[in-house]
Symmetry: C2
Subunit: 105 residues, 2 copies
DNA sequence: TCCATGGGCAACCATAAGGTTGCATATTGG
DNA sequence: CCAATATGCAACCTTATGGTTGCCCATGGA
C-alpha cells in the first residue's frame, strides 16, 4: 500500500484522479489543467502508475490515461479499523457529554 | 490531506498507528517494536505528528504518544467517491458476466 | 547523590520527490 | 512530403525521506 498512499499524497495527483473518474483523458489534456510543465505532470502520472491507480494505453500519437481505482479498496479496508475507532471515540464523547449534562442540570 | 497521506505512506508508520489503536505508548516502547534505531522511529513520529495522526505529551521523562485518527475521516470522505466508482465498475462487470452467461447458455 | 534510562538534537549519507529546460521521436493532417 | 502536435527522455537543481552514529540533557530510583 505504500505506493498507493504515496500516489495519493500530492494534491495534484488527487486532482488528476478525481478528474479521471469522469473518464479517460490524454496526457496533454491533463497537463493543460495545471500550471506546471507537461513533464512535471508526466512524473506525477508515473507515480500514479506505480501505485496502480491509473492505466495508460497508447492510441496513435496520444496516450490515454484511465482510472484504476481498485487499489483504493485496500486503503478503504485499512481505514475500516479507524472508522470503528473514531466512532467509539465519538460514542465515549457523547457519553461524557451526557454525564456532564446529568451532573450539571 | 497531503500530510495525512504522506504520514500513512510508510508501512512502519501504518504499523505504529495500528498499534496505537490499543492505547497510548511511549516513544521507547514503540521503537523497541522495530528493528531500526530509536531516532529513525522518532522521525516517523514527527511525520505522523505533521499529519496530525498522533499527539505527543510528556509525562515525566517519557513521552506518551496517542492516536488522533480524526484526519483519517477526511481521507475516508475522499474515498467515498471512489467507493461509488469501483462499485459501478463491479456492477458493469457483473452485468457483462450475466450478458455472457445469457448468450453462452 | 549518582547513574541508568528515556529522549532530543545534529551531522552525515543515500535515495526519492517535484520542478525546470532542452532535445529527440513518432504520428497526423494538409 | 512537411509542419504541427503529442510525448518521451535526460540532465540538473532543490527539498524531503529514511537511516545511521554520536553526544547532550532531564529525571526517577536505589
Amino acid at each position: 500500500m505504500d505506493a498507493t498512499f504515496t500516489a495519493a499524497s500530492h494534491h495534484v495527483r488527487r486532482r488528476i484522479l478525481d478528474r479521471l473518474r469522469r473518464g479517460p483523458e490524454t496526457v496533454g489534456g491533463i497537463s493543460r489543467r495545471f500550471p506546471i510543465s507537461r513533464q512535471a505532470v508526466a512524473k506525477h502520472l508515473r507515480l500514479l502508475e506505480r501505485g496502480r491507480l491509473i492505466v495508460v494505453r497508447r492510441s496513435g500519437r496520444e496516450r490515454l490515461v484511465s482510472l484504476s481505482a481498485r487499489p483504493l479498496r485496500e486503503v478503504d479496508r485499512w481505514l475500516a479499523g479507524y472508522r470503528r475507532y473514531w466512532r467509539s471515540r465519538l460514542l465515549s464523547l457523547k457519553r461524557l457529554a451526557e454525564e456532564i449534562e446529568r451532573r450539571g442540570g
